[in-house]
Amino acid sequence: MGVSASVSASASGGWVSSRKPVTWSAIVVRQYFRNKGAVVGAAILVVVVLVAVLAPVIAPYDPYAMHPKEQLKPPSEQFLWGTDQYGRDMLSRVIHGARISLMVGFAANIFSVALGMLVGISAGYYGGRYDMLVMRVMDMIFAFPGLLLAMSIIGLIGQRGLIWVVIALSIVWIPMYARLIRGSVLSAKENTYVEAARVVGMRGGRIMWRHILPNTAAPVIVVASLCVGVAIRNAAALSFLGMGAQPPTPEWGLMLFETKQFLRINPWVTVSPGLAILLTVLAFNLVGDGLRSALDPRMKVD
């Protein structure tokens, strides 16, 4: 408590505020940190991001460097998390994997959000038959289960690799973001200042940019934070199936794919990348939930 503007009486009997006014962002931040889960999630996320950014600096070895005599060794003094089947240091690989996974997760969602926004705002604002048509097409894409659709896109394109994973995953989520944003637009349209802007003669595009767009931000932020986690997990899943990252990239899902045959020999090699995925996705989930309750507990996010 105590962040609210404090007031003091002035000599003439009126009230004078002597503190900076409380901003909306300050309230949101404070509400966010009340939620224990959200704090834990944010902490984990900060660690993961730092690891990813500082990867070349903190990784003890080059993730691609092989040590032929040290294959599949358990954790030791020399290799803190053991080595994989080519003698590469697992710790360095997992650290670099963080970088790759975060990039993939963010990239996929940025494209999705951008295109979804384009579709959603225009459909919601202009309405009518355009809206109906666009939403029908979105529903058709939405009719496919996510991972399956991403796989089929990759399959029909005929190429493998992380870039295609990013493209496929972003296509898969456009309908969800479009629908979400359209919902916000529909309710934002009802505001009087929009009507006022139109009366004054503001062009549609400008209205959309200045008045409607900021209203769509909140649910998008919540859903996006959850979806980056989902993207990371799906990208790892696709790499696990052989369609995503290709060897020797140190991607977490690919690491599981390459080492699953060695379960009997050295299980630790499969435990560490999987745990990394779990923790990262968990962190994003917690942060997303925390943001949702901080921004507005009653917000419609479906």
């Binding site: 399956l148 089929s152 899902g253």
Partner: protein, 310 residues
């Protein structure tokens, strides 16, 4: 009620048609040319290549091909696999039950676990049991299913030697895969169940029932639970599609001969007709499951039946 069902069916048909068109178009416009790939692999000469093109019908314009595809579809002909030269429909049929068995078992187990956990958490709201259950649910939904599958294999198959790793057909082959699927889905179900039960418990009609002097158990079962189930059922329906995706991974890890693995293998070998056929099937299943959920929803909540505002 019947009118509602008819309405929903009618709305589903254009979606199905649209899905068919999209699936076909994706293949048509993709940069991958199966004929060129085959020509490379089998060292065909020019004449064989043009014969092949004619045979596959890929040298005709878009609309003609689309039309042909639909005609074939109506006859139940989904084409032949590029890799195995078997009819796609046959390949799918052979694997259908394995996948269905896994999906149903997994979803069923997930529902039991999720609803149980959610109800427990809601009844003991804000206690240790509540927080613990929700943490478990949270971890469950964040868990990468391929990793969980590997850990299960490590524990039950490699270390304890209780269960087999690969194959399908009987219960002991089904336990691990179904449990993996269930654990990843149960988390979401538990959380939805908990929040909707908490919300319903605070409603007026529940308070009225208690005031009438009915036993707590009866109140919970009859009034609260049924209504709390409504959003949960919706989530379960939505998650059926996630299960279709999750089944893919689980089938691959446990080497089950199912549709999921068929899709993966055909993607890896760029066996386009099989990819097309399975994607079509998956989306049809999804659409009809959603239809089923909608109908169930109307059954549970009479307001929907009589055309309330949606």
């Amino acid at each position: 009620m019947l009118k509602y069902i008819a309405q929903r069916l009618a709305a589903a048909i254009p979606t199905v048609l649209g899905v068919c068109v999209i699936v076909f178009s994706l293949m048509y416009f993709s940069p991958y040319d199966p004929v060129a790939a085959m020509a490379n692999r089998f060292h065909l000469n020019a004449e064989q290549i043009s014969n092949l093109r004619q045979e596959l019908g890929v040298d005709r314009p878009y609309l003609v091909q689309l039309g042909n595809w639909f005609v074939n579809l109506a006859h139940g002909n989904l084409g032949k696999s590029f890799v195995q030269s078997l009819p796609v429909l046959y390949m799918i049929e052979a694997r259908l039950w394995t996948t269905a068995e896994l999906a149903l078992a997994g979803m069923g187990l997930a529902t039991v676990l999720g609803v149980g956990l959610g109800v427990l958490a809601a009844l003991k709201e804000n206690s240790l049991a509540d927080s613990a259950s929700m943490v478990v649910a949270l971890i469950g939904s964040a868990m990468p299913d391929f990793w969980l599958a590997l850990m299960f294999i490590l524990l039950f198959a490699v270390t304890l030697r209780w269960l087999p790793i690969v194959g399908q057909g009987d219960l002991k082959h089904l336990i691990m895969p179904a449990t993996v699927v269930a654990l990843t889905e149960a988390g979401v179900i538990a959380r939805t169940m908990r929040s909707s039960l908490i919300e319903v418990r605070g409603e007026d009609y529940v308070r009225t029932a208690r005031a009438k002097g009915l036993r707590e158990r009866w109140v919970i079962w009859r009034h609260a639970l049924a209504n709390a189930l409504i959003p949960t059922v919706t989530i379960i329906g939505i998650n059926m599609s996630a299960v279709l995706g999750g089944v893919v991974i689980v089938e691959t890890v446990f080497s089950r001969e199912g549709i999921g693995r068929l899709v993966v293998d055909s993607v890896l070998f760029t066996d386009t007709p099989v990819v097309q056929g399975s994607v079509l099937l998956a989306s049809l299943v999804f659409i009809f499951v959603n239809l089923g959920v909608d109908i169930l929803y109307a059954f549970l909540d009479p307001r929907i039946r009589y055309g309330g505002n949606r």
